[in-house]
């Protein structure tokens, strides 16, 4: 049950008031205005691209997390400010030394196959399942020394050392609770049950016609009495963005999310009176995009050259013209939507003249064609807007005398080349996972220079940065961590290991009569057990 007195919810209300989309209301506000949650109705929405599989942990792609978030649940959910809120765990306590976490589970949690969900399932999921299959969770769960279940409703985790952002991992998108009775002792990745996800969430998988739609139906024994309000959710698979926009416009679907709607269509939908456009709900992920630069290649190894590149790029143009104001220009390596962002650490601003001066200073003079240096840039194969971005960057860099040759690949080729360091520059964006230690550190520390994507593939080495990240990682006090991260940010914006571009946001567009869509820091990934159609 949602506790109306929860302090987190209070903050949520404040935040909602300040947010860009003031028509959003919590259940309580709705009640206050006389809008009672109404049971019934099927939400038609879109999922792009189609998830290959719905078993969270085994597959962690964006669309999987969105659909899987309705089927599975984590111990906690996260507020827009990324504070933990009760989900499967009704409450929890942390020992003063920060090493022992004790969770108390909700009553009457039932899996979709009717079996109860107990502390055993939680311990299995955390210490075995996700440890095995989920690389993102594994890095943190390794810190658990011991997991115990003193009774079926209590779970106690003891850490090897304190870890300040530990609770962030218990969100459904990182550590969903899976049924032990179906998975224990099996090969998790090839478990026959992988085609039919069984979770504790408010919705269960009813039908999946591949390439067509995924239909979720109400889980009748959901542990919150009377919820979910919706009878079901239908995720339609629509590969063409114009068809998606059309479906939203004509009311064939009542909600779109993530990449469904291209940025340039957003203003059009903002103007439609029956629709609401929200850009929040991505705080946990806070994707930050940048020009990834291979430091092993000259002249990209020279901080001056990278600084010149940064000066050459008009990030406001990118935010306004390419993303149509959805998201905002980046200023530092830590997104402003996450904890520990330091607004005073600012990367080089748009100043082509300064860029030219720096390049002159390096001795890179323009030749007859006005070219000072030539570099290659691998396009990010994630859709049209990313191609436009690289086309813009080519023109912008060309303005200061850097000729850019674009290289095109598909996702597999891009990841392979990125992981093998076979690129000069490319565009990349990476989730920050709500905490610099979880989502930022990996990109910059030299210990993470690996032949794997989303590590420090740039090959950036700075001992000072390594030290600061290491300290912040083990520091139990939030305030001390903040200071360390401030210092890191200043170091990084001076070195410009990457040219940060945008703090991305993904528009969630829905009919206004659909209520409670974005209530957490994970937005459309949440369970939707309180989403309803107002009559």
């Amino acid at each position: 049950m949602t506790d109306p007195r929860s302090p987190a919810l209070g903050r949520r209300a404040v935040l909602a008031g300040a947010a860009a989309a003031p028509m959003l209301m919590t259940v309580d506000q709705a009640r206050a205005q006389g809008v009672a949650p109404r049971r019934g109705g099927v939400l038609n929405t879109i999922i792009t691209p189609e998830p290959p599989l719905l078993i969270l942990g085994v597959n962690n792609q964006g669309p999987t997390l969105i659909v899987g978030g309705k089927i599975y649940q984590g111990l906690v959910k996260l507020s827009p400010r990324l504070e933990p809120l009760p989900e499967l765990a009704r409450s929890w306590s942390v020992s003063p030394d920060g090493r022992v976490y004790t969770f108390t589970l909700q009553d009457n949690i039932t899996f979709h196959d009717g079996r109860p969900c107990t502390a055993e399932d939680v311990i299995f999921s955390v210490t075995k399942f996700h440890m095995e299959v989920n690389p993102r969770a594994r890095a943190i769960l390794e810190r658990i020394e011991k997991a115990e279940a003193p009774d079926p409703k209590t779970v106690v985790f003891t850490l090897k050392a304190p870890f300040e952002p530990f609770l962030l991992i218990f969100d459904v998108t990182a550590c969903a609770i899976v049924p032990k009775h179906l998975y224990d002792g099996t090969d998790y990745r090839n478990n026959p049950n992988n085609s039919t996800p069984i979770g504790t969430g408010p919705f269960r998988l009813a039908e999946w016609q591949r390439g067509n739609f995924i239909r979720l139906a109400r889980h009748e024994q959901y542990w919150k009495p009377g919820q979910p309000y919706l009878d079901g959710i239908i995720y339609r698979v629509v590969p063409d963005s114009q068809s998606r926009a059309l479906a939203l416009q004509t009311g064939q679907v009542q909600m779109t999310q993530f990449n469904d709607i291209e940025p340039f269509d957003v203003p059009r939908f903002q103007a439609m009176p029956n629709l609401a456009v929200a850009t929040d709900g991505w705080e946990l992920f806070s994707p930050l995009s940048w020009i990834e630069i291979n430091h092993r290649i000259k002249p990209l190894d020279d901080a001056r050259f990278r600084r010149a590149m940064a000066h050459a790029v008009d990030r406001n143009f990118i935010a306004q013209r390419l993303w149509f104001g959805v998201g905002r220009p980046a200023t530092s390596p830590i997104a402003s939507t996450t904890r520990f962002h330091d607004p005073t650490a600012r990367m080089p601003d748009f100043n082509p003249r300064e860029a030219a001066a720096i390049l002159d200073g390096m001795g890179l003079r323009p030749n007859a064609d006005g070219v000072r240096a030539s570099i290659k840039m691998m396009q990010l194969p994630y859709g049209e807007v990313w191609n436009r971005l690289s086309e813009y960057l080519r023109q912008a860099l060309r303005q200061v005398g850097i000729a850019v040759e674009l290289e095109s690949t598909d996702v597999a080729g891009w990841v392979r080349r990125l992981a093998n360091w076979e690129f000069e520059t490319t565009i990349n964006f990476v989730y920050q996972w709500g905490d610099p230690t979880l989502g930022v550190e990996r990109t910059y520390v030299s210990s993470n220079i690996k032949k794997v994507a989303f590590t420090n593939t740039a090959g950036y080495v700075n001992a000072e940065v390594d030290r600061l990240f290491a300290q912040a990682r083990d520091e139990p006090q939030a305030e001390k961590r903040r200071a360390l991260f401030s210092e890191v940010q200043k170091k990084l914006v001076a070195d410009v290991p990457l040219v940060w571009l945008m703090e991305l946001a993904f528009p969630t567009i829905h009919e206004k009569r659909l209520r409670n869509v974005i209530t957490t820091g994970t937005g459309v990934h949440a369970s939707f057990d309180d989403v309803f159609f107002a009559s």
């Binding site: 963005s241 114009q242 926009a245 291209e262 340039f264 269509d265 059009r268 013209r321 390419l322 396009q379 194969p381 049209e384 191609n387 436009r388 690289s390 086309e391 813009y392 080519r394 023109q395 040759e405 674009l406 290289e407 095109s408 690949t409 598909d410 080729g413």
Partner: protein, 282 residues
């Protein structure tokens, strides 16, 4: 030659086609003069409708000039069409000539090989090939050539099979001419008509294929092509129809012109058909 022109000219469509082609060719040559800047250059406000803010055919999502893109893209499209057709002809004619001339087991082997390629849907194969070699102008041209040669082989083989038993070929054989000389001077010149007609259609198909690949995001990102323009314009078709409609018209006109010319060539090179049009009685 004069006779050929006389017959060609009688086909009004072919003359129109040739005129359009000439215009297109001229556009390709004059593009750097008409639009002396890169087609990638962002020259103004995005999404300007045609005729506004100095954009003859409007501007695209980055404020690039659609007209400049079409003009510069002409060269690329013609290049892709021309080079890939030439390559496909080289493969197709060689295999077809060998199969048709040698006949027997060699023919059988080559035709099985050709059938094999025709069993794989050509567009699928092109997509796979481009994805494998990473999209670039050369990989696109190669992929198109690889999927386009089988029909050439079939046509050339059929021609060679029928021509090789013709008496003038046998006469050359009896005169003691070498195989290569017979293939090159006796048979090939007589097989040219259908090849020429076919190749005009292949250029058209290649342009369509390139645009379809671009549409799927498998185009060369450094070259402005019509297919790229449609691909980048399709998602905004309702916001800026001109971004995809004008390059679409450019493709349409080119393919149409090539077809008309091909048809004209067919009539002109194939006297039997010319007769049918009521020109000459038997």
């Amino acid at each position: 030659m004069a006779e050929f022109w006389r017959r060609f000219r009688r086909n009004l469509g072919a003359v129109i086609g040739l005129a359009i082609l000439a215009l297109i060719g001229l556009t390709a040559i004059l593009a750097p003069v008409l639009f002396p800047f890169s087609p990638w250059e962002m020259r103004g406000i995005p999404f300007m409708p045609p005729g506004e803010a100095g954009f003859l055919l409007g501007s695209d999502s980055l404020g690039r000039d659609v007209a400049a893109g079409i003009a510069h893209g002409t060269y690329v499209s013609l290049l892709v069409g021309g080079v890939s057709t030439a390559a496909a002809l080289a493969i197709g004619i060689t295999l077809g000539a060998v199969a048709g001339y040698a006949a027997g087991r060699v023919d059988d082997a080559i035709m099985r090989f050709t059938e094999f390629f025709q069993t794989i849907p050509s567009f699928v194969l092109a997509v796979v090939l481009v994805a494998i070699f990473t999209p670039s102008i050369s990989s696109i041209v190669i992929a198109i050539a690889i999927v386009s040669w089988p029909p050439v082989t079939r046509v050339v083989r059929a021609e060679f099979l029928s021509l090789r038993s013709r008496e003038f070929v046998q006469a050359a054989e009896v005169l003691g001419r070498s195989r290569i000389a017979i293939i090159l001077t006796e048979i090939l010149p007589n097989a040219l008509s259908p090849i020429i007609v076919l190749s005009s259609l292949m250029v058209a198909t290649a342009i369509l294929l390139e645009s379809a690949l671009s549409f799927l995001g498998l185009g060369d990102p450094n070259l402005m092509s019509w297919g790229f323009m449609i691909g980048s314009g399709r998602s905004v078709i309702r916001l800026a129809w001109w971004m995809s409609v004008f390059p679409g018209i450019a493709i349409f006109l080119t393919v149409l012109a090539l077809n008309l010319v091909g048809e004209g060539l067919n009539d002109a090179l194939n006297p039997r058909l010319a007769r049918r049009r009521g020109a000459l009685p038997a």
